[in-house]
Symmetry: D2
Subunit: 138 residues, 4 copies
């Protein structure tokens, strides 16, 4: 198990009561878990900023009737070999596909790949999420 | 095929030249596709704001050694039945899992489900992407 | 002075060390102040989400040579009377003005006013910041 | 006056009708102005990304009873001399001040200054907006 330590923080009573109300509404069972989530989110934002290796998921919606698009999507992912871990495909309707590409790499490279894919004709919308590899945020 | 129309817009020459330089760098082949992407992104943001039915992907990283977490994750997804379309799982290392949950529903419901999942102990980080179902953005 | 309380949180040692390194780099003198900032930011986000009364600043850049624009900007701010607290104007160059409008009101009303102003011809760019009134976040 | 050019873009009829409905609701009088706003926003985002000289406004709320805070705020702004163009101060209540600092400089420097100010004890919340100098976006 991870090596837990305890730290004390001082807060104004009013702020703490306010925080407790909000996190209860969001479903948190206790204050420590809510603060750990804020701390981890802060650390992940810094990983991205500093161009460290992070995990990324690119969500995109595209029209699979568009000629050559599927081939181009596969090709560009293969050229980024070593970075793409998995791809999931969902048929939204007879024309529209949702695809989630799960990748690993420096944040700048993943932003570049995402930009490239979104510029393809037939890709209607897309968003990149950058998150942690998990290690060091245990 | 979709019913294409042509519309004219007037822009300052300097702004247009600037835009052309930026989109070329991002990989766009032509101006129409870049502007369509901006227009679609604007329309998707409004769908989310107005709580229409959209598609969402929740990316999360969690520690699968955490007792009962996998069961809770499956349970909460099942109770949101009809909304979860697919889930992809990637083993990042011996402790850390990445999971992408693909969902469909009103944007507020997906935000709620995402908040609930992120509050679970052992879920280290997560981000929700809300995008289009594709129809009407052809 | 505010009524300070102390609360203990448990974190994994590795995460805490990581957090300490990041906040030192950002200029924080101690951990409590950094965590208070995260907690306050979280509380402010909830105020905005719940459409409570918050303080907003709208930053915009516009071309003051555009006929009637200054009048329209003043007019729309006056009709929102009671909400606009102050306006600051900076001459960026002979054509371009930066204006910051400081407002107070429910978050949805300020988003509406901001959208209206940004739709005016001659307003080139703008962004709305929503923050706290300060009370209850002491 | 600026040198206006006209460009044609092709869009799917359904998408264009959708866009027209949304922009009317937001207050736009015509399609060209709405598209120009999207194009300018895209260009500004790239200026920020590429660390070009932009204009920034830092909105912060602080407790002016906090000893030495006002001095520290003034000092740090002066050391960033040449970048701070103006500051506006609003008394929110007997304790809480809102201050908007208007600056000009490379985007990374302004992010650094903002981070420094937000780390001060007594500064409760803050957000940085980065926008254009106006030139080239006429």
């Amino acid at each position: 198990m991870a090596d837990l330590v305890r730290t004390g923080i001082s807060l104004e009573r009013q702020l703490l009561e306010r925080f407790d109300r909000v996190i209860r509404k969001k479903g948190y069972k206790n204050r420590s878990e809510a603060i750990r989530d804020l701390v981890r989110d802060y650390a992940v934002a810094e990983d991205v900023e500093e161009n460290r290796t992070v995990v990324g998921t690119l969500t995109m919606v595209y029209d699979h009737h568009r000629p050559n698009l599927s081939e181009r999507l596969i090709q560009v992912q293969h050229h980024a070999r070593g970075k793409v871990l998995a791809t999931t495909h969902v048929h939204l309707d007879h024309r529209n596909c949702l695809e989630v590409v799960i990748m690993k790499g420096p944040s700048s490279e993943m932003k570049h790949l995402a930009g490239q894919i979104l510029s393809f004709r037939g890709v209607k919308h897309g968003k990149l999420v950058l998150t942690t590899q998990g290690r060091g945020l245990t």
